[in-house]
């Protein structure tokens, strides 16, 4: 045996392959390729939703492999296994071996004939591998490379294709974003990951991605167009499409898409990018004009200036309660006042954001201020409360000891301080009955003297904060957070929600930010002294918001450029005109008129149409083409919106300099638009199937057009553009010649004529 080896020299093959790979990922390369691996992911069992806890059950997940999936070298880069492309089929263990005379991306077509951990697949999807991943795993093209095809390998491919990242950058970014500590675990099938934490992270992301990838396959199979997928809701190629609309399809809008583009749009539904974390800070009862530009709210204005402002954001009800219901599920279910409700009010498994998040493997928390410390074993703050006081209005949980709690200023904790009605989740019976409901209901503090998650003092610069006699002073009302903490300590209360051993803390929000345990969707509710509800406390609320935002800004997730984080500052309702918009038409309270904002072609509001009785409508259901009977809730008292209020978005993508701030959008939006937007951001619905959007958030122009004959509430609208729900993507362009002015109650926005090309999608990330 000759032990003498030749001198080391660079691999001529590696150099050749690298040179052709640099040309792109969609083309075939002058190199053979041999691959082996596993098609793997996660098997997700959705929760069972019911009005009772006994009939409910949580979601479960498991690492999984796909048997019977068709794997091919995608020689033409169209994301499909075409005739003539080398292919094979995965074994019962999900494994495959495949060779090709030319190196090309890999595709795994997971059809309904395949199985996921032995379970049937009801809707097909496609996983992919970029050629760069194969090259990175290749020691020599003539030897087999181990390459697994997973939802996460598809995300890496999308990042390479659409973000201009190298393979190693895409892997590092995704690993960091989802919290995988060992990047070599990222692209393993979860069944092969031995690190429990990495496996959990990969499984969770796999569930999320699989949902989006299934949606992408639907886009292709239906022949969806670019216009539809980018969120131009006037663009669908349907018979009812009105070509005279100025915001009609342009460019490639009527082109259909293949899998790679469809997958890009599936992570950017209706032009709304996927966000990892959304924080909604909800304030109360102020018109936009009372906040935007007001010296009493300097911090909120600074955030709106740094981020972006929606100039025409409408509440959907008056008073508060219908708005919170709408924020939880895009409908008020007939509720028109703050009167006592049965608890929970919305029963019968009605679609809502909370269940929708659970249904796709995402998480949610509602953080409430001045939350009463709850002894272990009880849930008096949340579902199952025994001190629920319906007789006195049904809005608050009473506690016999609450009068003993006094702030430093001697003011007692008020029985009406914490408004349960401001929790948009608690009213949905099938959300409250979920096993995770109690642990999702958490505390938040914006107390004076707070520190951020790193222990640094949060400065507050409002000039009147030393004037204790000024009604606008943030110290002019009680501050109970420390007193509540002391009460908990004195009474040995160490756990404030049932079944959770975590020590009670007055500011679980801060603790969660420190640990990275915040949810994907976080709804943050101040008490009624911190939410501008009580008169004269705008500066106090401004201070409270500063505390909350400062904590988020100091967190690791906010400062991580791979994570997308958005802060929304908004209000439940305005305080001015009784106007509403955007797919909402219950009658005005007492005036016998339907509350439909109808505009002339010039943008002026015209009279409303008559009130409507309850009716049954046939709408384009989840199938998108088959009319399905849908009964909207009756409105015995009528309702109306409460004018324009503040809606601002500030993202870490702006803070980190990835996109510019200082944006504005004068399109018309409402709580329903926001709920639809959240469904897009979190991938909860299918833009091609209107019925998959919950409740009134499905009332887009497309939906109205498709269902005009059975939607009499829109019969009197001169311009349905103004009456439709739209995602907050600023794709809609006002017709040429139309002067776009703000309605009463709004701050002074730029007046635009025709398409507002200088405005932006406030949520954009690129």
């Amino acid at each position: 045996m000759n032990s003498q080896l030749e001198p080391v020299r660079p691999s001529k093959i590696a150099a050749a392959v690298a040179s052709v790979l640099a040309l792109g990922s969609a083309s075939a390369f002058a190199s053979v390729s041999i691959v082996q691996g596993v098609v793997g992911g996660a098997y997700f069992t959705p929760p069972v939703f019911a009005d009772t806890a006994a009939a409910s059950s949580p979601a479960t997940t498991a690492a999984s492999v796909y048997a019977g999936a068709k794997v091919c070298f995608d020689l033409n880069g169209n994301g499909a296994c075409d005739a003539g492309e080398p292919f094979t089929t995965t074994t019962s263990t999900g494994s495959f071996k495949l060779s090709s005379s030319t190196l090309a991306p890999l595709v795994a077509e997971i059809s309904t004939s395949a199985t996921n951990n032995g379970n049937p697949i009801t809707s097909r999807s496609v996983f992919r591998v970029n050629a760069a991943q194969i090259q990175a795993a290749t020691k020599s093209p003539l030897l087999a490379a181990t390459v697994n095809i997973t939802p996460l390998s598809t995300e890496v491919a999308l990042a390479i294709e659409n973000q201009g990242l190298t393979y190693s950058q895409a892997v590092a970014n995704l690993a960091q974003r989802i919290g995988v500590s060992n990047t070599s675990n990222l692209l393993l099938p979860p069944t092969q990951i031995t690190s429990p934490s990495d496996q959990d992270a990969v499984i969770k992301e796999s569930v999320i991605a699989q949902g989006r990838l299934t949606l992408a396959a639907k886009f292709v199979d239906r022949g969806d167009t670019v216009g539809e997928l980018r969120g131009n809701l006037d663009c669908p190629n349907v018979a009812s499409f009105d070509p005279t609309n100025a915001d009609g399809c342009t460019g490639t809008d009527l082109d259909t898409v293949a899998i790679p583009a469809a997958q890009k749009y599936a992570f950017n539904l209706e032009g709304m990018p996927q966000y990892d974390y959304v924080f909604v800070i909800i304030e109360e009862n102020e018109s936009q004009s009372a906040v935007v530009g007001s010296g009493k709210a300097p911090y909120i204005n600074s955030v709106l200036t740094a981020g972006g402002l929606v100039y025409n954001y409408f509440s959907t009800g008056d008073p508060s309660e219908p708005n919170y219901l709408a924020l939880g599920g895009a409908d008020d279910w007939g509720q028109t006042g703050d009167e006592a409700l049965p608890y929970p009010a919305v029963q019968g498994v009605k679609p809502n954001l909370w269940n929708a998040m659970d249904a796709v493997g995402l998480t949610w928390h509602v953080y409430e201020g001045s939350l009463w410390p709850t002894p272990a074993g009880t849930q008096q703050n949340v579902a199952g409360a025994t001190s629920w006081n319906q007789a006195t209005g049904g809005l608050w949980f009473d506690n016999p000891a609450e009068s003993s709690i006094k702030g430093a200023d001697g003011i007692s904790y008020g029985g009406s301080l914490r408004a349960v009605k401001h929790n948009p989740a608690v009213w949905y019976a099938d959300a409250a009955a979920q096993p995770n409901f109690a642990s999702n209901s958490r505390s938040v503090s914006g107390a004076y003297g707070s520190t951020d998650v790193n222990g640094n003092a949060i400065p507050y610069s409002y000039p009147s904060n030393t004037n204790s006699t000024n009604g606008d002073n943030y110290t002019s009302a009680g501050n109970w957070d420390n007193a509540l903490q002391a009460y908990a300590t004195t009474n040995g209360i160490t756990s404030w929600w049932t079944g959770n051993s975590q020590p009670w803390t007055v500011d679980q929000f801060k603790a969660d930010l420190q640990s990275g345990n915040v949810a994907n969707y976080n709804f943050i509710v101040p008490d009624q002294d911190d939410d501008m509800h009580n008169p004269g406390v705008v500066p106090r609320a401004d201070y409270w918001v500063e505390n909350i935002v400062a904590k988020i800004e100091s967190s690791a997730i906010w400062n991580d450029p791979t994570k997308r984080v958005a802060i929304v500052i908004t209000f439940d309702e305005g305080e001015s005109a009784t106007t509403a918009c955007c797919g909402w038409n219950p009658e005005r309270s007492g005036d016998g008129k339907a509350q439909l904002v109808t505009f002339t072609a010039g943008g002026a509001e015209v009279s409303s149409v008559s009130a409507l009785p309850p009716y049954t409508e046939a709408y384009m259901g989840s199938g998108g083409a088959t009319p399905v009977t849908f009964t909207p809730p009756p409105y015995s008292n009528g309702n109306h919106g409460h004018g324009v209020t503040t809606f601002g978005v500030y993202t870490n993508q702006i803070a980190l300099g990835n996109v510019p701030g200082g944006n504005y959008d004068t399109d018309y939006y409402s709580h329903f638009s926001f709920v639809r937007t959240l469904q897009d951001i979190f991938g909860l619905a299918d833009p091609g199937q209107p019925g998959t959007y919950m409740n009134r958030s499905k009332y887009t122009e497309t939906f109205i057009n498709q269902n005009a004959t059975v939607l009499p509430e829109f019969a009197g609208s001169a311009n349905p553009h103004f009456d439709a729900v739209r995602p907050m993507n600023h794709v809609y362009q006002f017709p040429a010649g139309v002067t776009h002015v703000a309605p009463a109650g709004s701050a002074t926005p730029p007046v635009t004529v025709g398409p507002d090309a200088n405005q932006n999608n406030l949520w954009r990330t690129q």
Binding site: N2, E6, I13, G84, F87, K97, L98, S99, L142, L143
Partner: protein, 203 residues
Amino acid sequence: MNGLVKTVVVVALIGSSTVASASVFDFSYVFADGQQVTGDFTGTTTNGGQSVTNIGNIQVQLNGIAFAPVGGVGNPTLQANAWVPSTAAFSDTAPVTIYANGALNNFIISDVDAATSASPDYEFGYINDSTNGIYQVVAANFLQSDSFSKAEGNSTQLALDSPGVASSWTLTEVTAVPLPSTLALLASGVGLFGLRGYRRRAA
């Protein structure tokens, strides 16, 4: 002229004396999924008969289908290249040794110089590289795979194992044959005798 011929004869005799033997060897490898590579080559036994060098005249069949152009037209020349763990690459200068103990193999047989080409039509590789953690036996007929794939996938033209103990590998010496150098020596000797006879007759 006479001196040059004598010199050639001497060198040939020395070369012949240093070669243990030259033979035809049959080999086979049965993959875990039942697929099989068979073939033969000529070579020289070394290492007490445990290995073969000077590989030549290679023939390979994957599942009975010869490494040859589709339709059987033409005869490709197959060559062997050594896999060099220290460079994690195939070499076109390092000597190729094929072992009876498959766990010692690090070679590839293909229709290209595997050190410089990434586009063979056929290949049979047998790698045990502890340095880079590569343990695989691979046989692929890329021409057949593309045509097969249209109808039934290419699994029948790709065989791939990650062997631990290569119990399914066989390397058998079939028959000893004269090596080319030996044949040259023989021819030279015959010629020398002929030349001497011719000179005698001429004298």
